[in-house]
């Protein structure tokens, strides 16, 4: 109690020095939570977006299918098994047929994935219904804004597409761009064109077939598909994105550590300076009968109180900042498109209890520790040296 009382007196009495310390520490604290909140928000959004637009509640694949090897598409299609057909008919899943093709926007040849999707599907958050906008016999096609940018195609444009059917025969047709879709998901955008599933089945001469079947994310139980279809659950499908976000987090962790390090250096520096400046004061305290252990406790507590005040100060201006950024989001630059996973145009950070409490605890523990180290040095100081202002 005495030590607490003295520490409070010292902190209040130190005036500007205390507030400078507190401001630096609180800035680091708020910055750490703020940036981590953005990273967490990005991770949560990219996973959610991936589930909504691509992964759903998991996918049934043909055994030959490899999502990273387009050459496997030639053999990765088959009729739906009765169980899958039931799922699709119930609206709990949607079939997707995929083939490799070539498009000729503006006379240039570009490889593209042609994907067939049911315009009435509800399993994925892809505006496939827009494919119904073209009704005069043309093949309607949907592209994303990245594909539109790469190809120079706009809504209403025609683009020639060439493909090989199941027998290996080349064929070609014109696709009319029904809509350019604004999406945060590069994986349903870049290098691909979506057309109605039945039209693609006709083009490939694969009636009733699909490359994969995406289960609605809200489907509670996924049945055995049979017919050689293999189920890939959400965890399997999200493995890549989790790894990718993790790799991004390494750089953020570096930033986090750097900020924390700077904050700790600030407090450590202040504590060391305090000792240097206040060694005579400590000698006086010793001469007046204060025990060494109490002096160590006093200076450690002073540091810890700086941390506590920084958390309080950080909360005063940080919480409104966090709430505002959570409400209004933060516009993201175009460069994040190259990161390879979904980043919204406006990112909304996520501040979980673990982040807030964890960082608070980390700041408090670290500050206490870096205050203890120089304070422990004091305990070895001879009172006579301390009184002379000498370090031994």
């Amino acid at each position: 109690m005495l030590v607490l009382k003295l520490a409070l007196r010292n902190i209040i009495g130190a005036g500007l020095r205390t507030w400078l310390n507190v401001v630096v520490l609180s800035l680091a604290f708020v910055l750490i939570v703020w940036t981590q909140g953005f990273i967490q928000g990005m991770q949560e959004y990219s996973q959610r977006a991936l589930i909504d637009t691509e992964v759903g509640g998991g996918q049934f694949w043909r055994p030959e299918y490899d999502q990273y090897d387009p050459l496997t598409l030639e053999d990765s299609h088959a009729p739906l098994s009765p169980a899958l057909r039931k799922l699709v008919n119930d609206g709990s899943a949607t079939s997707i047929l995929i083939t490799m093709g070539t498009i000729y926007p503006g006379g240039r040849a570009m490889p593209a994935l042609i994907k067939g999707i049911d315009p009435s599907q509800k399993a994925l958050n892809i505006p496939a219904g827009m494919l119904g906008r073209v009704s005069d016999g043309d093949i309607p096609g949907l592209i994303g804004q990245r594909m539109a940018k790469t190809t120079g195609l706009r809504e209403g444009d025609f683009v020639t597409v060439r493909w090989r059917d199941v027998g290996g025969t080349f064929d070609a047709a014109d696709i009319r761009i029904a809509a350019v879709v604004i999406t945060d998901m590069p994986t349903i955008d870049q290098g691909q064109i979506w057309i109605p599933l039945e039209r693609l089945r006709e083009m490939l001469r694969t009636p009733g077939e699909a490359t994969l079947v995406v289960v609605d994310k809200d489907t509670a139980t996924v049945p055995e598909a049979g017919g050689g279809w293999i189920f890939r659950d959400q965890e399997y499908m999200l493995k890549e994105i989790v790894e990718m976000v993790k790799s991004k987090m390494v750089s953020t962790l570096f930033m986090y550590s750097l900020l924390m390090f700077m904050a700790l250096i600030a407090i450590f520096d202040t504590q060391v300076l305090s000792i240097w400046r206040r060694r005579k004061e400590m000698g006086t305290m010793m001469a007046l009968g204060m025990m060494r252990s109490r002096i160590v406790a006093l200076f450690t507590l002073e540091g810890a109180l700086h941390g506590f005040l920084a958390v309080v100060a950080g909360a005063i201006y940080g919480l409104p900042l966090f709430m505002l950024s959570k409400k209004y989001g933060f516009p993201m630059p175009d460069v994040v498109d190259d990161w390879g996973f979904a980043i919204p145009q406006k990112l909304y950070p996520s501040y979980g209890a673990v982040l807030l409490l964890g960082t608070t605890l980390l700041v408090l523990v670290s500050v206490t520790l870096v205050s203890y180290i120089p304070s422990a040095k004091i305990s070895r100081l001879k009172p006579t040296d301390a009184l002379r202002g000498k370090m031994t």
Partner: protein, 240 residues
Amino acid sequence: MQNGNLIETFDLVKQFPIGGRKFTALRDVNMKVRRGEFLGLVGPSGSGKTTLLNIIGALDKPTSGRTVVIGMDTGKLSHKESAMLRSEYLGFIFQTYNLLPVYTVYENVEFPLLLLGMEEKKRREMVISALKWVGLDDRARSRPSTLSGGESQRVAIARAMVKRPKLVLADEPTANLDAENSFNVLDMMVRLNEELETTFVFATHDDKVIRYLRRKITLNDGRIVEDIETVPSPPGQGGE
């Protein structure tokens, strides 16, 4: 406290390592100080006055020999016991006042009582009383940085005296004061010595202090070369 002696030293030797050699600051110092004395350790710089004062105050330990202060052999005390001895029985006055800069005058004087765990009401009474003694009760809320040298030293005296210690150790207490302030604080110490029977031991080479002493122990090169009773001659008593 054998034989009513507050301080006893026996063949006290103190050596400091300087470079690869040893500097002997005190050589076979033997002395006894009775309760209520007003004595000074005098001598030129480097004669060992402050070293002896530090050993008596349990701030330092002798290389050999013994020091018994208020019945306690300071050489055998642990850090904790030394701190308790200083906290309960000793008061210190320093040349540079050594006030705690972030505390007010009141808080500085209150500090030794806080260490003793005294309850607040009694603490307040004693602090106010000590400040009245030194005539600074109207500066209780001031910070040390706003005080003059004389005022600072009076606060230091109040801090040393507030707990009514048996022994006050004062190291060159007037070195940073002008003549008028020096006489003021010395008058104050004499008064405290007479009223409270507090023993004062000075380390000084200031003639102003020496005029107030009733006993003078002269040190030279770490040895006691003279130990005499003197008649005080402060300025108000025909001295100046």
